[in-house]
């Protein structure tokens, strides 16, 4: 048997095969992937700036589940005022039950909603006690489902006015202004 020169035996004592491959060189590709920090931080900063610019502290009033409010174009920003919510036949004032609309829907006639009237009047009195000497703004926001009949809307509107809230606002979903008088921009 001929004597042959031995080959390279460096790093032969490393037990783990993948480490052996790594330190000896050769073999497959490395399993580590490098991540560019610069582009990642750029992306994060841009995302933060975008979210900060679109952040709005007003208009975050949540609509109750199942309520669909109509959309409108010529709108104003939301204001801090009592919210009268009418969904189905239920009336809520700032989340507290204030009667229902069944009597109005049955009679199909405009009428005052007594529970709503009393609750709004109470809110007015509380505001006047908390802000003595100041003029009462008389603003109320009506949050009404899109399918509610007009007689209910008019009844709530009139009841609010009788209770001392003549400035009534209707809550809607804002849509961008097209500038064409409501015509869809082509």
């Amino acid at each position: 048997m001929a004597i042959s020169e031995p080959g390279r035996r460096l790093m032969h004592d490393v037990q783990l095969k993948f480490v052996q491959k790594k330190v000896k060189g050769g073999g497959g590709h490395g399993v580590n992937a490098s991540l560019s920090l610069t582009s990642m931080i750029d992306f994060l900063v841009v995302t933060v700036v975008f979210l900060l610019m679109t952040f709005s502290a007003s208009g975050e009033t949540p609509a109750p589940a199942g309520m669909h409010m109509p959309k409108a174009e010529n709108t104003l920003d939301m204001i801090d005022a009592p919210i009268v919510s009418i969904n189905g036949s239920q009336i809520l004032v700032d989340g507290t039950a204030a009667g229902n609309t069944r009597a109005i829907e049955d009679s199909k006639r405009l009428q005052r909603i007594d529970e709503l009237f009393n609750m709004l009047k109470g809110k007015r009195e509380v505001w006047k006690q908390l802000h003595p000497g100041k003029d009462f703004p008389g603003v109320v926001v009506l949050q009404i489902d899109q399918d509610v009949p007009a007689v209910v809307v008019k009844s709530a509107f009139q009841t609010a006015a009788f209770a001392g809230f003549p400035n009534v606002s209707f809550m809607v979903n804002s849509i961008p202004k097209s500038g064409t008088g409501g015509a869809k921009a082509e």
Binding site: I41, L51, D147, A150, V153, P166, M171, V172
Partner: protein
């Protein structure tokens, strides 16, 4: 550790002036900020449409009562399914009556209805430009519009008409700053 080395000399046995910015807290901060902003983001923006119940204020005995001529008021009738009727009235006297064909362009997206009346908005704007009384920016009063609707009409159609009435805009001096505001104040007719 992730860090950025900012080299600026430090040779010749002097104390090194290199500083290392630690990236981990910075990335953590950005991630937390993004999470907060995404959680608190409002994707459906709520707004409001104003209406005025036209309730007279309390009497002021110290101020003399002036007899003024009644102002022109625009009455918008939406009782007919075929047309809108625009009526300019001054007191009990009818000045003009205009019919506008009614075309309900109802669009439903994810259950949300959207109705728009571009022809009505355009006609109201042209009427206000020719008949409206309060157009100067310094004028603190607004032209009045009264909406007449039947009791069965759905709320979404009422909002569509109010939106059309609010389409004409005028200048308004707000603390010396001109702003574009709706030309009309809207109220409901209880009849």
């Amino acid at each position: 550790m992730a860090g950025v080395n900012v080299e600026s000399g430090g040779h010749g046995g002097r104390r090194s002036v290199d500083s290392e910015i630690n990236m981990i807290p910075m990335i953590d901060l950005l991630m937390v900020t993004i999470s907060f902003l995404l959680i608190t983001a409002v994707w459906s923006h709520m707004a409001r449409i104003n209406a005025d119940a036209q309730v007279p204020g309390p009497p002021r005995p110290d101020e003399p009562i002036e007899k003024t001529e009644p102002e022109k008021v625009l009455h918008v009738e939406m009782r007919s399914p075929e047309k809108f009727v625009l009526i300019w009235k001054q007191g009990a006297q009818t000045i003009t009556t205009i019919d506008v064909p009614r075309k309900d362009k109802l669009e439903v997206t994810n259950g949300f209805k959207e109705i728009r009346y571009p022809e009505l908005a355009a006609k109201i704007e042209s009427e206000w430009k020719s008949v409206g009384s309060h157009r100067a920016g310094s004028d603190k009063k607004f032209d009045q519009a009264i909406l007449h609707t039947d009791n069965e009409t759905q709320y979404v159609y009422v909002i569509g008409v109010i939106d059309a009435i609010y389409h004409p805009k005028r200048d308004f001096d707000l603390k010396g700053r001109p702003e574009k505001v709706p030309a009309f104040n809207v109220t409901f007719s209880v009849n």
